[in-house]
C-alpha cells in the first residue's frame, strides 16, 4: 500500500503536466464551440459569451485526465491493448473471407425478393452497391497501382454529366450513353494523368484533389452547358429492352409481362443494373490483375525503379490505371444520374472522394472483398445512425480511428498472388508496399 502511494506521489508532477496540456488543448477547441453562442436578434447577430460553461468543460477535461492518469493509466499503451484484444476478430474475418464472396453474391441477387425487403432497404442497397463499384474502380488506382488519388469524384461527375447531357440533348438511351460516359471519363483520366505522372506521394494527392475541385467548379460556372448550380433535371430513366418501368409507359414493362404495376419494379430494376455493373467491374479488375498489365500495376506499387529496369513503360502503365479506374467511376456516375433523375455539382464534393478512398483504405488496399465489407459498414452504418444527425460524422471519425489502430492496413490485409506454380499462398500484408505514388 505504501509502495503504491509513493509511486502515486511520484507520478503526480507528470500527471499534472499532462492534464494541463489536455486542458489547454480543450480550451483552444471549446473557446469557439462552447465559449461563444450566436443569438439571432432581429436584424443582427449577437455573440453571447458563456465563460462559466467553458470553464466547466475545461475543468472537466483537466480533472478527468488527472484522475485517469493517476488511477488508471500506468504507462501501458491503450492502443496495443486494443490491438491484441481485437486480434481474434481479425483472424476470424480472414478465415471466413473465402466463403464471404459467394455468400454475399447470392444474398445480393436474392435481396429484392426477401420478405423484409422494402423500398427503404432497396434504396440503401443501391447506394451501397454504387459505393462498392466506386470503391472497386478506385482500388485499381490506389490499391493496385499505388497512386493516391484524392479526386476520384471528378470521374464520377464526368460520367454523370456525360449521361445527363447526352440523354437530355440528343435523346440517347441509357444503354447507349453508358459506354460513352465511361469512355469520356477514361479520357479525362488520361488528361489528368499526363501532367501528374511525374509527381509522387503527397504531391500527387494534392494535384488530384485540386483536379476534383476544378471539375466541380467548372460544372458550377459553365452555366450554358451544365445549367450551373441549378443542375440538370428530367434525366431519362433506363429502359428494359425498350420497355419503360412507369405506370403509363409506351410500351410499359408491367403490361408487357402482364403483372400488376408496382413502383418497386423500377427500384428493383435499378438495383440489378448496379449489381451487374459492379460485378462487371469486379470481374474485369480480377481478370486484369492476372494479366501482365495488372501485374505491372502491382509491380509499380512495389518498386517503380525496378519496373523501369525491366523495360516496363511506367508512364503508360500509370495512365492505363488512371484510365481504367476513371472509366468505372464514369459508369457509376451515369448510373447515379439515371437513378436520381437530377444531378447538380453539389453531389460531387470532396467528401465523396474522401468516402470512396476511406472505403478502399478501410477494406484493405487492393482487396476486392474488403471494399464490399467496408462499403456495407460505412454506407450502411451511415444510414443506421441517421437519427444522430451531425453527430454521426463524429461517430464515423471515431470508428475510423479505432479501426486504423486495430488494423492499420485495413480489414483484409493479405494479397492473393496473380499466378502460382504449385499452390496458391496468400502474401501477408506486412510485406506488401503501399506505393509512393
Amino acid at each position: 500500500m505504501a509502495q503504491s502511494e509513493t509511486s502515486l506521489s511520484a507520478r503526480l508532477p507528470s500527471a499534472l503536466k499532462d492534464a494541463a496540456i489536455a486542458a489547454f488543448i480543450s480550451l483552444a477547441l471549446f473557446a469557439f464551440i462552447v465559449g461563444i453562442r450566436t443569438v439571432d436578434d432581429p436584424g443582427k447577430l449577437l455573440l453571447e459569451p458563456r465563460p462559466w460553461l467553458l470553464a466547466g468543460f475545461v475543468g472537466a477535461v483537466f480533472f478527468g485526465r488527472l484522475f485517469l492518469n493517476l488511477f488508471f493509466w500506468s504507462g501501458a499503451h491503450t492502443s496495443e491493448a486494443l490491438t491484441s484484444a481485437l486480434a481474434p476478430v481479425g483472424q476470424i474475418f480472414e478465415r471466413i473471407s473465402p466463403w464471404l464472396t459467394p455468400a454475399l453474391v447470392v444474398f445480393a441477387i436474392t435481396l429484392p425478393f426477401l420478405p423484409f425487403t422494402d423500398r427503404y432497404i432497396l434504396d440503401v442497397a443501391i447506394m451501397v452497391m454504387t459505393y462498392i463499384m466506386l470503391g472497386w474502380g478506385l482500388n485499381v488506382v490506389v490499391g493496385l497501382a499505388g497512386l493516391l488519388d484524392l479526386g476520384y469524384v471528378a470521374f464520377y461527375a464526368v460520367g454523370a454529366y456525360s449521361y445527363a447531357l447526352v440523354a437530355t440533348h440528343f435523346g440517347l438511351s441509357f444503354w447507349v450513353a453508358l459506354p460513352l460516359a465511361g469512355l469520356l471519363a477514361a479520357l479525362w483520366g488520361i488528361i489528368l494523368g499526363f501532367p501528374v505522372l511525374r509527381l509522387r506521394g503527397d504531391y500527387l494527392a494534392i494535384v488530384t484533389l485540386a483536379f476534383g475541385e476544378i471539375i466541380r467548379i467548372v460544372l458550377i460556372n459553365w452555366y450554358s452547358l451544365t445549367n450551373g448550380p441549378d443542375g440538370i433535371s428530367r434525366i431519362p430513366r433506363p429502359t428494359f429492352f425498350g420497355l419503360e418501368l412507369t405506370r403509363r409507359g409506351e410500351p410499359s414493362f408491367h403490361e408487357f409481362f402482364g403483372i400488376p404495376y408496382s413502383p418497386l419494379n423500377r427500384i428493383i430494376f435499378l438495383f440489378y443494373i448496379i449489381l451487374v455493373l459492379a460485378l462487371i467491374t469486379n470481374f474485369v479488375t480480377n481478370r486484369l490483375r492476372r494479366l501482365p498489365l495488372g501485374r505491372a500495376w502491382e509491380a509499380l506499387r512495389e518498386d517503380e525503379i525496378a519496373c523501369r529496369s525491366l523495360g516496363i513503360n511506367t508512364r503508360n502503365t500509370k495512365l492505363s490505371a488512371f484510365a481504367i479506374g476513371a472509366m468505372f467511376g464514369g459508369f457509376a456516375g451515369s448510373f447515379f444520374a439515371t437513378r436520381q433523375g437530377f444531378i447538380s455539382p453539389e453531389s460531387f464534393t470532396f467528401i465523396e472522394s474522401a468516402i470512396i478512398l476511406a472505403i478502399v483504405v478501410l477494406g484493405g488496399m487492393g482487396s476486392q472483398i474488403g471494399v464490399v465489407v467496408a462499403s456495407i459498414v460505412m454506407i450502411g452504418g451511415f444510414e443506421l445512425f441517421r437519427e444522430l444527425e451531425h453527430y454521426r460524422m463524429l461517430m464515423f471519425g471515431l470508428a475510423m480511428v479505432l479501426i486504423m489502430i486495430w488494423r492499420p492496413r485495413g480489414l483484409i490485409t493479405s494479397r492473393e498472388p496473380s499466378v502460382f506454380l504449385k499452390e496458391k499462398k496468400a502474401v501477408s500484408g506486412e510485406l506488401v508496399q503501399e506505393g509512393k505514388g
Partner: protein
Amino acid sequence: MTAPWEKDPILRVRHLTMRFGGLVAIDNLSFDVGRNDITALIGPNGAGKTTVFNCLTGFYKPTEGMIRMTHADGNEFLLERLDDHVIARQARVARTFQNIRLFGGMTVLENLMVAQHNPLVHASRFAIAGLFGLAGFKRAEREAVERSKHWLEKIDLVDRADDPAADLPYGAQRRLEIARAMCMQPVILCLDEPAAGLNPRESDQLNTLLLDIRKEEQIAILLIEHDMSVVMEISDHIAVLDYGIKISDGTPDFVRSDPHVIAAYLGVEDEEVA
C-alpha cells in the same frame, strides 16, 4: 596489340562524363565490353561505378560521351539517347541493383513474370485478348511460366516459387534478382555488387551461376564488385575506376600487378607510385 575484347565489342563506351553540379562523378571514361566476356568494373568506394551503370541503363543521362551497343545481328543502339525502359526492352540491357530491388510483396514466380512483361503484353494484345482468355495469350503465358521455372531451377528456388520475395533469405534474394534480370532474355547483364553480403559458399555458387549463364546463354556480363575472389576468379577483363577516372584496364593478371591499382586500393602516397 589489341586486346581480345576490342575486336568485336558488344558495348563501346567513349569519353563518358557525368557531372552533378560541380561534382564530376565520371571523367572521360572509355572502355569496351567483349561480346561473350565477363567484364568487371572495380574501384574503391565512391569511384563512380554505379554511376556508370546508371548511365548505361538510362537512369542518368550522361553529360558527355557516347555508349554504342552493337547486337550480334548488327543492330546498333546509342544508349545515351534512349529512355531507361527502351534500353531494357529494345537494347536488351538487364541490370540488378546494389540494394536489392525485388517486388517484395509479390511471389518469387510473379517477380519473374513481371520481367517478361513486354512479350506478355504483346501476346495479350494490350490486355484485350487476355481479358477474354484467347489461346494465343494462354500459350505465351505458359511459355513465360516455363522460362521462369527454368531459371528457378538454375538458382535452386523452385520450392519457394509461391512464397513472397521479401520472405527469402538475403542470398536467395540476390540470386532471384539475377534470375529476374535473365528472364528478360538480355544480351548484356549488368550486376551491381552481386556478391555483397554473401557468405563464401554463396559467393562460390554465384561464380558457378555466372559462368554457367555466360556459357549457356552466350551473353556478356558486366559486373561491379568489391569481392576480389569473385572478380579475379571469373572475369576475363577488368577496368579499374578511381574518382571517376579509369586507372587501369586489362586482364585480371595485368590489373592485379598494376601499381596504380595497388595504390588506389591500399591508399599509398602519390609520390611512391610515381
